[in-house]
């Protein structure tokens, strides 16, 4: 078998490799942001905020590369899915990078307030779980492994449970007077950042399944919409015209 479009396929491989590199940056950023939050490391926070600009720039570069490929190479079949997947993944990676920055910004806002060991423990667990999810999502992408991608959902459920547990501990800590309201609100938002990183990892998993088999996720909203359409008593019944109305009267 002769490879006919070698340079084009080399370009696709470059896009893949670059996304893996950006993914690695995000995977590293998650525990780093957590450390900054737990250690109240303001200098580290500034460093992270600047570092995110690099992730943004690389995501834009990949996006532009994908547009160029679409315009010049007219990819089809698996090549087309590879470009579409890459385009959509840039959005997930860029947003996940932003969320790690948001965690660092939260560290600035709660600077000077102590967190009890229970809160600190769950933050560490959420961070680990979010990082693991993201690493698995990038691995699934690297290996084009739809089974690994599909398994991300269950891992995400555990992260969601941790977030609920964390919120409960925030309530308890606030009630016991160990954190004030401002800190409680900030921590609630932080929990949400980890949970969102998990969602982006799950989205990457969905893109991997699309890449491999063309599979499209059936989103809950779309299912609800379809069911409402089917359940509407008016469905399929023509709207009466003026003539019908006259006839009835």
């Amino acid at each position: 078998m002769t490879e006919l479009r070698k340079s084009f396929h080399t370009e696709l491989a470059e896009v893949h490799a670059e996304l893996m590199r950006v993914g690695a940056q995000v995977i590293e950023a998650i525990p780093r942001a957590t450390r900054i939050l737990l250690d109240m490391d303001l200098e580290g926070a500034d460093y992270m905020v600047q570092g995110d600009d690099e992730i943004d720039a690389r995501c834009i570069a990949v996006e532009e590369h994908c547009y160029r490929i679409l315009a010049l190479q007219a990819p089809v079949a698996s090549d087309l899915r590879a470009v579409i997947t890459a385009l959509k993944m840039t959005a997930e990676l860029e947003r996940s990078g932003d969320l790690t920055v948001n965690i660092c910004k939260a560290a600035r806002r709660i600077y000077g307030h102590e967190m009890n060991p229970k809160l600190r423990g769950i933050i560490a667990k959420m961070s680990e779980q979010a990082q693991q999810l993201f690493a698995n999502a990038m691995e699934a992408y690297d290996e084009s492994d739809p089974a690994k991608a599909a398994a991300l959902d269950d891992m995400d459920n555990f992260l969601d449970a941790l977030q609920r547990q964390f919120i409960q501990v925030i309530f308890e800590s606030h009630a016991a007077g160990s954190i004030d309201l401002q800190v409680a609100v900030q921590l609630g938002v932080v929990a949400r950042f980890y949970e969102r990183i998990g969602d982006h990892a799950v989205n990457i998993g969905e893109k991997v399944r699309f890449l491999v088999s063309g599979w499209m996720p059936e989103h809950v909203g779309a299912v609800r919409h379809r069911m409402r359409q089917e359940a509407t008593p008016m469905a399929g019944i023509p709207i009466p015209t003026q003539a019908d109305r006259n006839h009835d009267s």
Binding site: M1, L4, R5, P75, V76, A77, L80, S213
Partner: protein, 296 residues
């Protein structure tokens, strides 16, 4: 006989034809309900040139008012199969077929079938525009005259309708008496399409109709195909995969395999499906490899 007017093929010109009497819808008579009905039903078709089997195992159906594209590398048999559909291979002495080609349930290779009548119903446009060295008018009127149309006004009507149908009328209406060979390549090809539709075929076979044309002329022909498929069933062989993706409803991918007779290759059908499927999610990995350029 005006184009667009309903008529059946059971008329004077075809009275001796074994295809006579079939209620086959011809151009202009097919309605939307028949859009998905089968025109050709090809089963286990093999084509031989002497002892050499050029193509084997072709089973596919061609549906009415659709554009079906044949794609594949050189020597895969796509043109050979196309030429079977109006018995053009009859002109090659050593050619013979196995399997069956049914046209509206009539076996095209039944000895009783009149090959000329087959070719009237199933027209062909070739790779290189081949207008006759006659005037534009006479090029289009040639077929109808041969079939017995004599009336000047009737011929005028057919010529205008056909040239309009081929999107050429506006460009040539003031110079119908000039030679067809004086037109540009793209215009010549549209003239050949006008000539093909002048005898009101049901099917138009196109053998790489744009390979000798520039991109603008190619775009015109592609547009034209989308327009005329309202009236005609089209089968197109093309080397340009993007063209197949743009114009066709269904695509057949052929490939070649080495056979036991030395280094000669036999073509075979690999996959036949909706075009959007072939170019987004083909079922066979050989199709995937071909459309993405990982095989050649």
């Amino acid at each position: 006989m005006k184009q667009g007017a309903p008529h059946t093929v059971d008329n004077e010109q075809t009275s001796d034809s074994p295809l006579r009497g079939l209620s086959v819808p011809v151009s202009g008579t097919a309605d939307a309900n028949q859009a998905a009905s089968t025109v050709f039903d090809i089963k286990d078709l093999s084509v031989f040139y002497g002892d050499f089997r050029a193509v084997r195992d072709v089973t596919l159906t061609i549906r009415q008012l659709e554009v079906t594209a044949f794609i594949g590398p050189s020597g895969c048999g796509k043109t050979t199969v196309l030429r079977c559909l109006n018995r053009m291979n009859d002109f090659i002495e050593s050619a013979r077929i196995e399997g069956s080609v049914l046209y509206h349930d009539v076996d095209l290779y039944d000895p009783a079938v009149n090959a000329t009548e087959v070719r009237r119903r199933i027209g062909m446009v070739f790779q290189k525009p081949n207008p006759f060295p006659k005037s534009i008018y006479d090029n289009v009127a040639y077929g109808p005259r041969l079939l017995g149309t004599r009336s000047k006004s009737e011929l005028d009507g057919i010529v205008e309708e056909s040239l309009r149908g081929a999107a050429l009328w506006a460009e040539v209406k003031d110079r119908l008496k000039q030679s067809g060979t004086g037109l540009s390549g793209g215009q010549q090809q549209r003239l050949c399409i006008a000539r093909a539709i002048a005898v009101q075929p049901e099917v138009i076979l196109m053998d790489e109709p744009c390979s000798a044309l520039d991109p603008i002329a190619t775009a015109r022909i592609e547009d034209l195909m989308t327009e005329i498929k309202q009236k005609y069933t089209i089968v197109i062989v093309t080397h340009n995969m993007q063209q197949a993706a743009r114009v066709s409803d269904r695509t057949a991918f052929f490939t070649t395999e080495i056979n036991l007779q030395g280094d000669r290759r036999t073509g075979r059908l690999v996959e036949f499906d909706e075009t959007r499927k072939i170019f987004s999610m083909p079922s066979d990995e050989r199709t995937e490899a071909y459309v993405t350029g990982r095989f050649g």
